[in-house]
C-alpha cells in the first residue's frame, strides 16, 4: 500500500493557484474550498510552492489591505517537502512529522498529482496496522485452516 492508494481512496485533489495570481484570488479560493492550503503551480503543472492561511495571515499583518494585490509568489512557501505515488504511507508520514506539516504534495515525474493529508495518512496506517494484527491473530490461531 502506498501514497497513490491513499490519494485514490481519499481524493487528493487540491486547490491550485498560479505564482502570478493576486493574493486576493488565493484567499478567495481557500475560502470557497474551505481549505487552509493551495498548491502554486506553473503552466506545465510543476510545483513551485504552497500557500497557506498562515502565509496569508502574515501578509495581511505586514501589508494590510495592500496584500490583496501582491502576487502569490511574494508570500508563498517554496521550500516544500514532497513525496511520490510510489512512496509508502509510512514514509510520507515520517516526512510530515519531520517537517511539522499536515499536508504533503504528491509529485510524479515533476507533475503534481495532489496532496496527501496527515489525517488521511494516519487513518490509512491505523487501518493497515489493524489488518496486520488481524492477519497475525488468524495465523497464530490457525483460523485460515478451519
Amino acid at each position: 500500500m502506498n501514497v497513490g492508494h491513499v490519494l485514490r481512496s481519499k481524493g487528493g485533489e487540491a486547490a491550485r493557484v498560479r505564482a502570478d495570481d493576486e493574493l486576493q484570488t488565493a484567499a478567495r479560493l481557500l475560502g470557497s474550498r474551505k481549505t487552509g492550503l493551495a498548491l502554486v503551480i506553473d503552466a506545465a503543472g510543476r510545483l513551485l510552492g504552497v500557500i497557506s492561511a498562515m502565509d496569508i495571515m502574515r501578509a495581511v499583518g505586514d501589508h494590510g489591505a495592500d496584500a490583496a494585490k501582491m502576487p502569490v509568489k511574494a508570500v508563498m512557501t517554496s521550500d516544500v517537502g514532497v513525496c511520490c505515488s510510489q512512496d509508502s504511507v509510512q514514509h510520507a508520514l515520517e516526512q510530515m512529522v519531520a517537517r511539522r506539516v499536515r499536508h504533503l504534495p504528491v509529485v510524479d515525474d515533476g507533475v503534481v498529482k495532489g496532496v496527501i493529508r496527515l489525517r488521511d495518512a494516519v487513518e490509512f496506517r491505523v487501518g493497515e496496522v489493524e489488518m496486520e494484527a488481524e492477519e497475525l491473530r488468524r495465523y497464530i490461531y490457525g483460523a485460515g485452516y478451519r
Partner: protein
Amino acid sequence: MKAREIMTRDVVTVTQSTSIAEIATLLVRNKISAVPVMSDDNRIVGIVSETDLMHRDETGTDHPKWWLELFLGADGRARDYVKSHGLKAENVMTHTVISVSEDADAANIADILESHRIRRVPVLRDGKLVGIISRSDFVRALANVDVGARDIKRNDATLQKAIYEQVQYQPWINAAFLSFTVKDGVADLRGFVDSDDQRQALQVLVEGVRGVRKVNNNVQRRPRQRVERRR
C-alpha cells in the same frame, strides 16, 4: 487593518458550568475548534479548545496507557485527572486567555497567533467579548477587501452590489430578509434580523464598505414566532 475589520462577530460562548458533553456538541455542530468561557457578569474567564477536551472518556480518546501514567504520579498528572473527570467548563478550560482589543492592528494579531502558537484570539471592547479571530478570518478579510475601488468614488449601483456581496458572505446573518438601497452614497437598510446585536453588526459592516458615506439603519428585530396552540 484592525481587529474589528477581520474578526468573526457571532461568537459561540459557554459558561463555567457548561458540561463537557455540551461543549463537545457545540464544537461539532458549529464546526469550531474552541469556545470562550464567560463569567456571570459576562467577562471572559477562560477558553475551552478541542485539545482541552482530549483524554476524555466521552470523546473516546482515553487510552489505558494514560491511566498507567497517572498512577506513576508524574507532575501535572493530577491536573490531567481533573481534565478527564471534571464535568464542567471551569475544570478543563485554559485560564490564561490572550486577547486583543478591537483596535489592535492586524500585524500585532498575526504576531500573537504565531508567537504563542495559538489558533485563535478573542477580541474585547471594554473587557466585553465582541469577536474572535483565527487564521481563516485573515483569509476571509483579504478575500473581501475591496482594493480596486479604493479612493475612487463609486456609483450607487456598485455600492449596492458591494453591500450585498459583503452581507451574503457573513454566516451570522440571513440576507434573504434584508434589502439595501443606496442614493448619493447613503445606504438605506431595511428588513429583519434576529437580534439587536445583529442589527448593530450589520450597521458596522455596511459602514465598512468603501464609498458608503452614511447608513440609515431601518432594520428591525424579527417578531418572535408564535407557537401555534393546539385546541
